[in-house]
Symmetry: C2
Subunit: 361 residues, 2 copies
C-alpha cells in the first residue's frame, strides 16, 4: 500500500485508489490479451467494449435520456468555449451568458467571435463571490440559449439550482458533473473536462440533445462539427483511449458506491464539515456568499496573507496538499471532488482548529 | 513477466515493455509523492518537470533548431488538417497538396474550407501504391506551402526523401516521426499523432517555425491559434498529462537505444527482412511500388482473399496479432514501428514461409 497524501488539487484531482490500482495492471496487460491498454487498437473488440461500457455507465448514472448523444472529445473544456457557439449560433444570432468567474469569462470571449452575446449578469466586481438567483437577470427573448457555469472552481461558488427557462440551457459542469443529481432533460448541452470529477486529463464529455446536431453551419471543419463525432460513436478518429478507460473505471467505482444520489449526500456532508468550521470562527472567512457556496471547492481566507502562506505550508507537512487558492483571489481552497476521501476532510478540519488556536494571537 | 503477443496494430501501436512497466508504477504513485501520475496537478513541479523533459528530449533526438516551437496538443492529427490552413492560409491564398492516401485526402478536404488548394499529384487511381518523385508534380509559384504525408500508414508507402523546394514544407509525420533522421530546418511545420511511434493516443506533437506563429488571422478561436499554445508552453489549458508523460518515457527509451540514427538502421533491417521475404516468392505480392516502400507499414497480398483471411487468423493463433490490412485496400499489413521488436518480425517471416509451403497449392 502506497503512502497516499490528501491531494486537494483543483484538477487534475485525486482519483479513487482502486481505480489507480486497476489502471496500473491494465496499462501493462489488458484483460490478459498480452497487449497493454495504452497500446491496444481503438478498433479492437476489447477497447470497443471499454468505450461502450463507459458510455452506458454515464447514461445510467446521470439518467441521460435516449434523445441525447454522449461524446468523448479531446481539446479540454476550453475547446467547448468556441465549439458551442460555432455549432449552435448561426452568425449574428444572440445568446445569453452569466459571468460568474474566469471560465465563464473565457467562454464569453470565444462566443463573441460567432454571435451577439448578451452578458445578463456579472459578479466580477465582487471577486465573483456569488452566482445569481433567477430574479437577478433577464434572458433576452431573442437569445438562442442561456449559458452558465454550474460550479466555479476558482471562486468556490455553485448554482444551488438551475434556471427555469424555456430557452435552451447550456452548462459547463467541468467541476461538478456527477456530484449531484441533475435533470439532463432540462439542458440542451452539458459538457465537462474529465480531470475533476471523472478521471484524468485528456478527455471532455459532451452531452448534447440530438436535434441540436443539425444546427452546425456548412463549412465548419469536420473535427469541429458535433455530428461528426455523434455519428461515429466518438470514433471518427483515434480517441484518447486511456482517458476514456479511466473515466469508465471511475464510473464503476461511483456506481458501486450507490450512484449520484448517494454521492450527493456524501458531498454535502464533506463540504458541511468545512463550512461549519469556517462559520464557527472569525479566524477563517469564506469567500463565497452563503447561498452560492460550492460543495466541490471551499474557498476561504485567514486574517492575513502571511498566515495563509504559513497555513498552506504547514498543512503540506502533514500530508494535506494543494490548499493554496488560485492566484486571482489568493487565500486558500480545498477542492473536495467526489473521490476526495471524508477522512481527508476531517484531518483538514482538525488541522484548521489547531492552526487557529496556535495563531489567533 | 507478462506473456506478450506481437502486436502489428497500425495505431495505437505496440510500446516498449519497459515504458509500460514504468507507467504502471507511476500511475499509482508518481516519484514517491503519494499522488498518482494521473491525478497530479499539471502545475505541480513534478509534472512541469515531466513536460519540460519530454520537450527537451524531443528537441535533442530530432535536433530541432531553436527557432522552432514544440507543441503538445489534443484533437489528434485529424485536427491539424484544419488547424494548418486555418492558421497559415489567409482566405483565398493557395497551397499545394500531394494526394498520396486517405490521410492526405482528408487534409485536402479540410484545407479547401480555407484557401485555394492545388492537388499537384494523386496516386488514387492506382490504389495509392506510390508517392511521387519530384519530377512528377509542379508546385504553383503562388502556393504558400507544399503539404505531404511522409508515410502512408494504410498503403505502406513512404517518401524516401523529401522535396527540395523554396516553399514552406508542411508534413504529416504521424506514422514515421522519429523512425529516421530528418532535417527539421527544411520544414515550416511537422505534426504527428503520438499513437504510432511516440506513445499512447491522446496527444499530437506540432513542431512549428516561430515566424509562422504570426500568420493566424484575427478572430481565430483562442484554442485553435498555435501562438496560444506556443506562448504558454502547451499549458494554456490542462494538457493531456498522461499521454505527454508516456511520450517522454518512449523518448528516454529511444535515447538509450542510440537515438534516431540507430533506430533508422534497426528499422531498415526489420523492414528489409519482410520485403526480402515478399520479393523472394510469387506467393506474396507487395502493394507499394518498390521505390515508395514504407519502413513502417509493410502491405502485401496473398494469391486470394480467402488465403488472406486464413493467414491473418492462423498468425493470431501463434501470437502474431493485427495483420489484417485496412478495409480500403484489403490484404495484409504488418505495422512495425520503432517499438516493434525484431524478434516479432523474424517470427512473422518464419510464419510466412511456413504458410506459403503449406498453402501454395
Amino acid at each position: 500500500m502506497v503512502d497516499r497524501v490528501y491531494n486537494f488539487s483543483p484538477g487534475p484531482a485525486t482519483l479513487p485508489y482502486e481505480v489507480l490500482q486497476q489502471a496500473s495492471k491494465d496499462v501493462v496487460n489488458f484483460k490478459e490479451t498480452g497487449i497493454g491498454l495504452i497500446e491496444i487498437s481503438h478498433r479492437s473488440k476489447e477497447f470497443m467494449a471499454v468505450a461502450d461500457e463507459t458510455e452506458s455507465l454515464l447514461r445510467e448514472l446521470m439518467e441521460i435520456p435516449d434523445n441525447y448523444k454522449v461524446l468523448f472529445l479531446q481539446g479540454g473544456a476550453s475547446s467547448q468555449f468556441f465549439m458551442i457557439p460555432m455549432n449552435l449560433l448561426s452568425h449574428g444570432k444572440k445568446a445569453t451568458y452569466l459571468n460568474t468567474g474566469t471560465w465563464a469569462k473565457k467562454a464569453i470571449k470565444e462566443a463573441k467571435l460567432f454571435g451577439d452575446i448578451d452578458v445578463a449578469f456579472s459578479s466580477e466586481e465582487a471577486s465573483f463571490n456569488k452566482v445569481p438567483t433567477q430574479d437577478e437577470y433577464t434572458v433576452d427573448s431573442a437569445s438562442e440559449f442561456l449559458y452558465l457555469v454550474s460550479n466555479n472552481t476558482i471562486y468556490g461558488t455553485q448554482f444551488p439550482e438551475f434556471p427555469v427557462t424555456e430557452k435552451l440551457l447550456v452548462s459547463d459542469m467541468s467541476s461538478d458533473i456527477l456530484s449531484r443529481k441533475i435533470d439532463v432533460s432540462k439542458f440542451g448541452l452539458i459538457f465537462a473536462g474529465a480531470q475533476k470529477n471523472m478521471g484524468p486529463a485528456g478527455v471532455t464529455v459532451v452531452i448534447i440533445r440530438e436535434d441540436l446536431l443539425d444546427r452546425t453551419p456548412e463549412n465548419t471543419p469536420t473535427m469541429l462539427t458535433y455530428k461528426t463525432h455523434a455519428d461515429k460513436g466518438s470514433m471518427f478518429n483515434t480517441p484518447p483511449c486511456f482517458a476514456i478507460y479511466a473515466v469508465g473505471e471511475v464510473l464503476k467505482w461511483l456506481k458501486k458506491l450507490g450512484g449520484v444520489a448517494a454521492m450527493e449526500e456524501i458531498n454535502k456532508e464533506k463540504a458541511g464539515l468545512l463550512y461549519d468550521c469556517i462559520d464557527g470562527t472569525d479566524f477563517y472567512r469564506g469567500h463565497a456568499e452563503k447561498n452560492s457556496r460550492s460543495l466541490m471547492n471551499i474557498t476561504f481566507n485567514l486574517p492575513t496573507p502571511e498566515l495563509e502562506v504559513q497555513f498552506v505550508a504547514e498543512a503540506a507537512t502533514i500530508g494535506l496538499n494543494g490548499l493554496k487558492g488560485h492566484r486571482s483571489i489568493g487565500g486558500c481552497r480545498a477542492s473536495i471532488y467526489n473521490a476526495f476521501p471524508r477522512e481527508g476532510v476531517i484531518k483538514l478540519v482538525d488541522f484548521m482548529k489547531e492552526f487557529e488556536t496556535k495563531n489567533k494571537g
